[in-house]
Amino acid sequence: MAPRILRMGLAGILVQFSDRLDDAANRRALAFGARLAAALPEGVEEVVPSLGGVYLRLDPLRADHAAIEARLRLLLDDKASAAVAPARRWTVPAVFGGASGPDLDAVASAVGLGADEAMADLVARPLRVMAIGFAPGLPYMGILPDRWNIPRKAGLTPKVPAGGVVVAVRQAIIFPTDTPTGWWHVGQTGFRGFRPGAEEPFLLRPGDEVQLRPVGQEEFRALGAEDPDGGGASVEVVSK
């Protein structure tokens, strides 16, 4: 679809690249968000890339909606914006199945694989952080192959513990905090994506890649004891 510029309430403008989950549209949104953030239009307070668009929060006391929209149209027409390459790649140890991933068997059967094969398929490639949202530091990662297009659970799981890996609708999430959810809980990491007191409170950024590395229970426990907030996660800068 062609990008749309939509007003949202008194002080919001959405530049929408897609209203469905779409890898190319998300990459475009992230690139467009980065360009806007580098040179904020007058009256714009905040630029927020999301799964399919970029949200602008305006200062209603000084924002000129029409002028900002004209600026956005110019930027959209300017084809100079290329897709952003992943800046950082995280490797995050995760334990799958059993008590650490009670929904793995159900998910594997929905995907049409055995539990071990489903897990192998999930970690076969790095996942891309498409957006951070819902809760602080919560990454929407994907896009998984079509066979992972499984709907959310009918009911709500009252609590998936912090660090939990959940999947649904071709995406995966690592919960930064204990979270009630309708997504399928397949694994557990020791990674905390939101650390309020820390110098860097939000760990992941849109555009980051996350490679889940399967480990056994014993290694998982050892990593958690050594690195209580990170669970043995590491990060490398893969490009500027």
Partner: protein
């Protein structure tokens, strides 16, 4: 720091709140802050201090408090039964509390959120630029008996002011604006939304409130909608077609379609609608809402009209003396009658 607010007892949902944490939407953290931003601004006006100071937000019930030094206070938001050493205090007004006195704030009489603002503000350590508790994000906690909260230095003086027109409890008429998915709703449903007298449902908290009183609203293509950024004021239509108005501590992304967004200037009426209170919504134009928003903020600050609590200037000898505070209370009662 010797200026302390001592919490002798507290209701179940008393938190420190300020203007919240703008600027973290891209990190998944909603702004949070006072559920009723206007009541917070009214506290600022009554104490004649700058914005950004933290106050106590009291949902439904206050508590009992003492101070270690003379402290100016302002009581705003949902009116609650308040007394100083048993002598009732006027709500929507500023008062002086002295060491040894006991400030008691009881149950809410209308509305939901009452505010206790302090001269100098609550000076707990900020996290991510704010002192506000954001319980869904795991920041801060509810205040409990035995807590001692530091109070900042008070750069102002004087008490005995009251709001010219205080109070926005009890529901009412609320202006709304279109948002990204408004067009997904049929013209009939949008008209029905405006025509409905909703009731604030029992379900509600700082994240949002549910609206009862209408047949379900239908939206086309609702289930495949891609999650997008949501903001306080957005009116989501949940899976059952029931509207839900997001408030200060909402999540930052949501997958439900939104029929409209409440004008921020009217959101305090939604936040302060108690279960059962009526709410009606009316679409306005962006131009109209922006012009009004700016008119309410001459010089960039929300305009809050105050007046002296006492009507008779001869009684206003020394606003800071204890005697006068008693007089202020009496005068306030006359004013209320």
């Amino acid at each position: 720091m010797n200026r302390m607010l001592e919490i002798l007892s507290a209701g179940p949902a008393v938190t420190v709140q300020d203007e919240g944490r703008p600027g973290y939407l891209a990190f998944g953290l909603s702004r949070g802050g006072a559920a009723d931003w206007l009541a917070l601004a009214e506290g600022v006006a009554l104490l004649g201090q700058g914005p950004g100071l933290a106050a106590l937000e009291m949902a439904g019930f206050g508590g009992t408090f003492a101070v270690t030094e003379p402290i100016r206070i302002a009581l705003t938001g949902a009116p609650m039964r308040a007394a100083l050493d048993g002598v009732s205090l006027v709500w929507n007004a500023s008062h002086l509390v002295l060491p040894g006195q006991r400030l008691s704030i009881g149950a809410v009489e209308a509305g939901v959120y009452g505010y206790l603002s302090l001269g100098g503000g609550i000076a707990t350590g900020p996290v991510l630029g704010s002192r506000a508790a954001h319980l869904t994000a795991g920041l801060g906690r509810c205040i409990a008996a035995g807590d001692r909260l530091p109070i900042g230095p008070d750069g102002g003086a004087g008490v005995g002011l009251r709001l010219e027109a205080g109070g926005h409890a009890g529901g009412g008429k609320v202006r709304i604006l279109p948002t990204a998915q408004t067009a997904m709703f049929s013209p009939e449903d949008r008209a029905r939304f405006e025509a409905t007298v909703f009731r604030r449902d029992a379900a509600g908290n700082r994240q949002g409130v549910r609206l009862a009183g209408a047949e379900p609203f239908a939206t086309a293509g609702q289930r495949s909608l891609l999650s997008e950024i949501v903001e306080p004021g957005d009116i989501q239509m949940t899976g059952e077609g029931v509207p839900y108005v997001l408030l200060a501590e909402c999540q930052t992304m949501g997958g439900y379609p939104r029929i409209a967004s409440v004008v921020p200037d009217d959101l305090p009426f939604v936040a302060q609608a108690a279960p059962g209170d009526s709410l009606r919504f009316r679409f306005v134009t962006l131009e109209e809402a922006l012009a009004d928003h700016r008119a309410r903020r001459p010089g960039g600050k929300p305009r809050v009209a105050t007046r002296r609590l006492l009507r008779d200037p001869r009684e206003m000898a020394d606003l800071l003396s204890y005697q006068l505070i008693s007089g202020v209370t009496d005068g306030g009662r006359e004013g209320e009658a």
